[in-house]
Amino acid sequence: MTDDVRARVESELARISIPTLLVFNPDAVIYNGLPSTITASPTDVMVLVPGGYPQTMLDLAFLPAGSPLLGVLKGQPQQNLSAGGRTWTQVSYHPHTNGGAPPWDPTRHGFHTYIDEVLSWISVRR
């Protein structure tokens, strides 16, 4: 991750009130303890920092491997990935490509707005 990208991501995370964690190799943001109306306990959600970010749009989301939300939420569960010392399962969730969110615009969108999409996503059954 370049210095510019890191500065940008950290600036976006500073605008979010919920706890977040920026991890590296792979570069990703983990939103911690997000409330879902589907399960009693909150869930963590990981989103990768894509190459070329922020022009490259944020896309997809990862749930902890074995999460009860897998297969319940919209989006096909896919491959696993290790990040931040944990194993995550990718879910084919695409808010900015005809998924309900407006077209990606890096002058407006970022991890500070993606959180809103994720919060909506984890509270709706497929």
Binding site: T2, D3, D4, V5, A7, R8, E10, S11, P50, G51, G52, Y53, P54, Q55, T56, M57, D59, Q76, Q78, S92, H94, H96, T97, N98, G99, P103, W104, D105, P106, T107
Partner: protein, 499 residues
């Protein structure tokens, strides 16, 4: 800090808008001919491999009592100084001083200036995160000719200002510091016609400017070709690709013999050789790389104008950002063809001017988010997404969350040459101040009546960062809108006869 002891000071390029320069000159010379005046100023920076870029964001103009109006020389009051320091602290930017010397006096720092700069270089870093301080001096002679000097310090590194670039809506100016002597042969017969039409000063201006061309294929190579013949003597050429056989139809300077070599030459080398065949005195910096890469951006710090000829979403985003954050103006060009029932129905060109304060590519709606993302993906990621799209279709789902194809017609040399020549023409007008385009964005279709000409001047979105981060340079990194993906190969500098 003792500026008198500074040796090996690194070169610094200063950029400001024409609007700020107008206010600055009115202020500094308001007590001429005999009395000095001054202000603090807010600036951004970028450290480059060769020195520093300083972007003047705004003047912190003095109010009543902020400067000693009884004195002929400059004396800043404590409240004014503290106000500037607090502004520095709040903004995360840097603060410096600008003052004038009396008419006809060289802008060479005096002993008093040494003391002032030494004091402020230690004082201002106490406020906020930036440790950089600069002091600039301007003066005019009896004919109104302006000269300047400047120096600065960041930690233990000293800087000297070499160049001032002023970005106006109608003219792009380059001034060298009074101590910098540039040897350019101004007298020649090759540009007599251009001199007759635009005047000798304009012809000479072209010889002192530095133009970057991003993408030197169909539109970039003819643009370079035209500008070299117009007298431009300093180019930065940027393109990551080597010449391919299909390029022969459109890349000016390419020939069949280029393919005798294996691998064939880089496009930047082909165009460089064309420029040198026109004028062997032309300086060309050749970079096999991309505008998003840091090494390339460092080279753009000292250019008068960028011509963006790649017609990609990420380049368009990048030049928009370079315009507002780094005060580097650009003319962007793209071409497209349309066809129906086996006939060509449209040969369309679009030209956009980016400068500080103008709408960015996102304000203009000139970026396709999906295409922009694809441009920056690895080949593996593209392949994976295409497989996932096929899987989605098999599941009965829409594929476009994973992949979306955008078929495009190729472009051809006769039209790319036209578009490249056209932006070279606008470049000549902007650089010399002799003419400007009638609109900020122009679209035309040569197959329509009246060439299908449409000009528009859309406003920027009020809340967009292109309006709020003007001149922030690297200090605006927290809102950067594009970055080079790590899988791209590093920039390769093509030197001497290397191809």
């Amino acid at each position: 800090m003792d500026f008198r002891k500074a040796v090996d000071a690194q070169p610094t390029v200063v950029r400001m808008t024409g609007e700020v320069r107008g206010r600055l000159e009115s202020l500094l010379f308001s007590r001429y001919p005999n009395r000095e005046w001054a202000c603090f100023f807010l600036f951004g920076t970028r450290r480059t491999r060769e020195g520093l870029l300083l972007t003047i964001i705004d003047l912190l103009e003095p109010g009543e009592g902020d400067l000693d109006s009884e004195s002929d020389i400059v004396s800043f009051s404590e409240p004014y100084t503290l106000r500037a320091a607090l502004r520095k602290q709040d903004s995360g930017l840097s603060v410096g001083t600008i003052h004038s010397h009396p008419e006809g006096c060289w802008p060479k720092p005096s002993r008093l200036d040494d003391d002032m700069d030494g004091y402020y270089a230690e004082y201002f870093p106490l406020f906020g995160s930036s440790g950089t301080y600069f002091g600039l001096i301007f003066s005019r002679d009896e004919d109104g000719q302006m000269t300047f000097s400047g120096r600065g310090q960041s930690g233990s590194v000293y800087f000297r200002v070499t160049t001032l670039l002023t970005i106006g809506d109608r003219e792009l100016r380059r001034d060298n510091a009074f101590s910098v002597v540039e040897r350019v042969n101004m007298a020649d017969s090759f540009h007599a016609r251009l001199g007759e039409l635009y005047g000798t000063k304009a012809a000479q201006r072209l010889k002192t400017c530095r133009v970057a061309i991003i993408g030197v294929s169909g539109t970039g190579s003819p643009a370079a070709h035209v500008l070299a013949r117009a007298g431009v003597k300093d180019f930065v050429l940027v393109d990551p690709q080597r010449l391919a056989p299909s390029n022969l139809e459109r890349v000016h300077g390419s020939s069949m013999s280029d393919f005798d070599a294996d691998p064939p030459p880089h496009k930047v080398a082909v165009v460089r050789d064309l420029l040198l065949s026109i004028d062997p005195d032309i300086k060309v910096e050749c970079l096999a790389g991309n505008i998003l890469q840091s090494e390339v951006r460092d080279q753009l710090v000292n250019v008068d104008l960028i011509l963006c000829c790649t017609d990609t979403n990420h380049s368009r985003t990048a030049v928009g950002e370079l315009a507002y954050r780094y005060l580097i103006p650009t003319i962007d060009v793209g071409v497209a063809f349309e066809a129906e029932a086996g006939l060509v129905t449209g040969e369309i060109g679009r030209i956009t001017f980016y400068s500080p304060g103008s709408p960015c590519a996102y304000c203009l709606g000139a970026v396709n988010s999906w295409k922009a993302s694809v441009e920056l993906m690895t080949e593996e990621e593209k392949a994976l997404r295409q497989v996932q799209a096929a899987d989605a279709v098999a599941r009965g789902e829409a594929p476009n969350g994973y992949w979306e194809d955008f078929p495009e017609l190729p472009t051809v040399g006769h039209f790319t040459t036209l578009a490249g020549s056209l932006i070279a023409s606008y470049a000549v007008g902007w650089l010399t101040g002799k003419f400007t385009a009638p609109h900020r964005s122009i679209e035309f279709n040569i197959l329509e009546p009246g060439f299908g000409y449409v000009g528009f001047d859309p406003p920027a979105r009020r809340d967009c960062i292109c309006q709020t981060l003007v001149g922030y340079a690297d200090e605006g990194a927290f809102a950067s809108v594009v970055s080079a993906p790590e899988h791209w190969p590093p920039v390769c500098r093509i030197v001497a006869a290397e191809r």
